[in-house]
Amino acid sequence: MSFERIDPDLVELDVGMDEILINVGPQHPGTHGVLRVLLRTDGELVLGAEPYIGYLHRCKEKIGENLTARQFIPYTDRLDYLAGMNMNLGWALVVEKLLGLEVPEKAKHLRVLMCELGRIASHLVAAAAMGLDLGSVTPFMYCFRERERIVDLFEAACGSRLTYNYITVGGVMADLPAGWLERCEAFCNEFEQVIPELHAVLTGNAIFIGRTAAIGVLSPETAIDFGCTGPVLRASGVDWDLRRDGEPIYTRLYDGYEFRVIAETEGTYPGAKRHPPVPQAAVVGDSWHRFYVRMLETVESLGLVRQAMARYRDSESPCGEPVKLTQKLPKGEAYLETEAPKGQMGFMVVGNGTAVPWRVRIRSSSFSNLSVLSELCRGGLVADVTAVIGSLDIVLGEVDR
């Protein structure tokens, strides 16, 4: 009796005979909220990953048609609820663009200060959740400890820890309380010491690199085609940041500030010497790079926070007067995108001469970033899906609106 050796390739073909659909979510810790992903698998291989969204849909755009421009501010907090300040800013600026309003110097510095703190907080959650998705609990504790301090600062400034309603049309709701800047200064100094710790537990961690390097590689062409923005786009090597490249009404906020756009150009990141090296296994556009870009951006944001504090101290002007709740909007439409932590957040407002907008449109960055998921997961392994979702850093409040 003789045995015939089976050609290994034949086994592969044989596996292809039975595809299995696996439903992940909407209640699944790895999907960052109520996201449902339908995986088409073949053994361990993923053939397709189709997101099903809408579980958190509240029709914010319809709500916006029934409120005045300033009344809508608290609702923007609940879009990307991990970066409420940045959402407030996006809406406030687009209404100011339609009104042709310019806020005083001091309000601008306050806005930069709050938004960059918001960016650090959001990126910390991204890093924490990504580590957790890959089975590493320690960085979650480290990151949330630091984020907690930012949230405390926000609470001291506006009384709220998650939904701030602070940056508003015409300026900000209130000036900073006494002693706030000293607390913020202390935070900056201490956070700077923590960054190497975060790098030690994640960035240079061999297991983390093994799980993320060369996983879910996004080419710059695909990223642009799918409308991916923010760290997801920059991690693919596209040097594009609205804080520098955006419309004047937004970039004027950052006039005179010094910061670098974090994107790999000519094979190196700006200021690469001060950060952990890029591992051999990582390729531009993979999950590791998306994580790394966020980590480096927190350092840039920290620099911006310090500059904003110094310039806030020096500015003499008042910090702006919020417009009347019943401020009438002129006829016409205005659209503006700002660089929110998760990507380019766009708002459109259509005015018809009354105080209530005729139409409100929200262009969500996470929405477009999520749409590329299937492209990234196809051909990978089932276990890599969570790594890819984690690296895209989506917030379902913003995807579903």
Partner: protein, 176 residues
């Protein structure tokens, strides 16, 4: 390239299919006919001096005023408007394309107006067109898979239509 020059190029190439423009608006816009939309989009994306490689957003705006008294003051005929916000990461210029559609196809209430899909020009349009279909009720012909995205599949009506009335019940559950 500024909006004037882009408008000039489009007029030269597409003639009367470019319907209107307001280059002095807060965001300069150019209106094109629905049928020529994909052709104009391909031109804007592929011309070497234009290179509009990113589509940011597709929005549907319903111009319909139910109140007859106020409707007389509005100064427009009821219609749907689509806005396409484009930009070029290469040349850093921006443009808004507009398309004007009837509220209902051939004036028959309930028949959704149609416009050609641009999902083959920019992949962003895939999900955005599904959203506009879902919420504003516009049918994108040639879209690979036009189904609802934010509302449940069996939802009735299009919530961002100005004459939309939320249902009293959904799957036997009171929702009002």
């Amino acid at each position: 390239m500024d909006a004037q020059t882009i408008h000039g190029r489009l007029l030269e190439r597409f003639g009367e299919r470019i319907r209107a423009a307001d280059l002095e608006a807060v965001d300069p816009w150019i209106e094109v006919s629905a049928a020529s939309l994909p052709e104009v989009c391909l031109y804007l994306r592929d011309r070497l001096e234009l290179r509009f490689n990113m589509l940011h957003c597709i929005s549907g705006v319903d111009y319909f005023e139910g109140d007859p008294q106020r409707s007389a003051e509005t100064g427009w005929q009821p219609h749907m408007q689509l806005l396409y916000h484009l930009s070029s990461l290469v040349y850093r210029h921006r443009l808004v394309l507009k398309v004007r559609l009837p509220r209902w196809k051939d004036g028959v209430a309930g028949e959704l107006p149609e416009v050609p899909s641009v999902a083959h020009v920019w992949r962003t349009a895939d999900w955005h067109e599904r959203e506009v279909f879902d919420l504003s009720g516009v049918r994108f012909t040639g879209h690979p898979e036009l189904r609802r995205i934010l509302c449940p599949d069996d939802w009735e009506g299009h919530p961002l239509r100005k004459d939309y009335r939320a249902p009293d019940e959904y799957q036997g559950i009171r929702v009002r």
